[in-house]
Symmetry: C2
Subunit: 148 residues, 2 copies
DNA sequence: GCAAGAAGGATGTATATGCAGCCTTTGCGG
DNA sequence: CCGCAAAGGCTGCATATACATCCTTCTTGC
């Protein structure tokens, strides 16, 4: 009883579980940040670049565990809106350095309170212990998978 | 010292961490399943439908925590390849019922060993305790977010 | 110096995902 | 029956994401 493998083993697919949770959580963040005109991805990007100045596509992709070619695409909308700019690096013309513009910094600052709120709302919705546990677990996993 | 908030608070964005980990993990699964001609999403979809027979778009979307309109799109490639079919429900012509075809079942069976392997490889790469911890944490979070 | 190979990105192509708005079919009142 | 609101999906539009492949620019060995 207790419906042992009623769903087969694939109910236990880690990838599926991650994707499900990510969909839901991303949705929350996207909706919360929408009034500020940013998606969750774009917010992260701006946040990152606000702290570290010019960064090459490749380096940025590494930090975000993202394929560089994906990053190129993701940057496009932000470029068009002049929230950041991409320019050929002086010392190596193969490289492109990405930098936030003043407009980008402003957009980021305006989105920040919304980010804080949704982050808090999620913690609240999940319950702090569960939320902390999740974050800890994600960090552990990420550390392990990037240790290579 | 210990670079307190050198990265600001947003290094702690749950959404970002989830997305990073999901990117990496999805990549592993996609590569593992590619020789079988399926993506991780498609595999999950077939797995799900293999167990539960005909299911409406909406019901399926609910289970996958996915927007129904996204699901419509995601089904398309599988439909074109005849791995599943979508048909108007008899009793309610608004509804569309999705069902796996024989070809779909076959594709799924052939992908199964690959899924098992990548799942095991990931557990190995992360270390069993961490892997179990992650899965448990994801389940907890999902349960909490769907309890509403 | 120069040619071969490596490094860094950009493009073509394909899937994944969500929202707003639209169409069709049901269900319900009256 | 009729009309209207609700239910269930689909389309247009936009972002997110990856892989194979190609172009450009450095590096290096000789």
């Amino acid at each position: 009883m207790s419906k042992p493998k009623a769903e087969g083993q694939w109910g236990r697919c880690t990838c599926l579980r991650l994707r499900k949770l990510t969909r839901r959580v991303t949705q929350m963040y996207d909706q919360a940040l929408a009034p500020a005109g940013l998606t969750s991805s774009q917010f992260s990007l701006l946040a990152f670049l606000s702290v570290r100045g010019d960064t090459s596509i490749g380096a940025l992709a590494d930090e975000l565990l993202m394929d560089p070619t994906s990053l190129t695409r993701t940057l496009r909308p932000l470029e068009k809106r002049r929230l950041l700019k991409v320019a050929v690096a002086r010392d190596d013309r193969r490289r492109r350095d990405v930098a936030v513009t003043e407009a980008g910094r402003t957009a980021f600052r305006e989105a920040l309170p919304r980010w804080r709120k949704v982050q808090a709302d999620l913690a609240d919705l999940m319950g702090s212990p569960r939320f902390d546990e999740l974050n800890r677990s994600l960090d552990d996993s990420l550390r392990q998978l990037t240790a290579s």
